[in-house]
Symmetry: D2
Subunit: 143 residues, 4 copies
């Protein structure tokens, strides 16, 4: 996939640092390429739900935000993206020391971008696919 923005790398990094909820949770990008972004989060006690596994909301936030970042790598300078909806399949409970997410643009339309995100839970160094999301994002023109 091709980028259309010479500054796509900085502009995509910026949406991680500029989103309060993302820095608050501890999500950080680990790889940014045109059409693909990877990110991770170190699991802490505050991320868990009542059964001691990572809350679905944490996985979803990671999946959604990394998907938005992947969409950022293929839009034009000054455009933004906004999630209009997503579906998440929670395949296995997520526990371990880290979550890793890989997001990949499936279709980059002029107005809508569809992105797939896979979230892996890494326990004792071994990643297992915990959830898979498909995110639809609207492309917003510069204001």
């Amino acid at each position: 996939m091709e980028h259309q923005n010479p500054d796509y790398l900085q502009d995509t990094e910026a949406i991680f640092t500029a989103a309060n909820f993302v820095t608050d949770l501890g999500i950080e990008p680990t790889a940014i390429r045109p059409g693909e972004v990877e990110a991770r989060l170190v699991v802490k006690s505050r991320h868990l739900q009542q059964d001691g596994v990572v809350h679905a909301g944490v996985q979803t936030t990671l999946a959604d935000h990394t998907a938005g970042a992947a969409a950022y790598t293929v839009i034009r300078k000054g455009q933004r993206v906004l999630s209009t909806g997503f579906t998440v399949h929670l395949l296995q409970t997520a526990s371990g020391e880290e979550l890793r997410c890989k997001a990949r643009v499936l279709r980059a339309g002029r107005r809508l971008i569809v992105v797939e995100s896979e979230v892996y839970a890494v326990a004792a160094g071994t990643p297992r696919l915990a959830s898979k999301a498909t995110v639809t994002l609207a492309v917003m023109e510069p204001r």
Copy 2:
């Protein structure tokens, strides 16, 4: 809808207080009835994304957890529920002082429960529907 657990009220309240991520975000229940649960969250700066509106992940966490609570009101004593997946439609950007969620059990099967959650953003006292989710939960037997 009927409850099947005489302690459904306390047991459902408990899944709010026992889930770290939920107390960390500030989500609290405001109404619990068989088949229906309402919850709210006071919006803080840490809940926002890069465009200054509430992050989709915050809305989704609220929608998913309140849906799980609604499912709790209709299961038997000792059973638990676990989300297996959900879909979220983000209808409008969410901003304001508070998010409110209403979750309603659509179908309570023996093994699967389907719940709808509506998230309203309250700005200057006026609630507007921000997102709507449908959550599928598996019923887990006591361990």
Copy 3:
């Protein structure tokens, strides 16, 4: 909800008669109002799947097309809509003599319309909710 097209009634009826797959299955509209459309299908042996109940694909076609029709009632003259995706929750197996669908516009944006469709299976005259879908449609400008 308000219509923006004085001919919305005929234009919405036309998308039922102009869609080959819809007439082939026997889907017909029964009520058209701004933001809401109802349709039905008489169940025949050819609509069934291997377990003798109505195939999920028949329910989905009915849900999707009726949702598209509901979106048609709120767009401007000459615009069209195209489904960009949907989610279906199959709540109970569908059997009986007829399927009925009610579609309701949840959010009519300038570029995207979100519609909910409920499909009821009518057996011995009694309708039961069989499935519920949420459909997202893109608004297409006149060519």
Copy 4:
């Protein structure tokens, strides 16, 4: 992925021939392996919608049924599967002489199986990804 049923090949083929709606539309399997099934449909005029492209309901029926078949390849003899819901992302309009579907089991649980289906529209011999679905199926014990 491993099969658990020595007759998985015939049992999976049978769900194509035993489903009226599937034979009526002209869907036929082209490859069956443990965890993966491929199927196709020759596009006819009756499969189209009002804009002259293949109706989303045809794509969805193909995606859902092929997903169900993929799930069949990994269950035990005598078990059945039933779709409990799915999500479809319609990435491009589908036109051409044939639809091809590839379904792949993403997660085979004891009670729930999650399958991904990709539908390609083949025009002038060239396949293009038209839609992608994720289907959740419940495993039913022998009656």
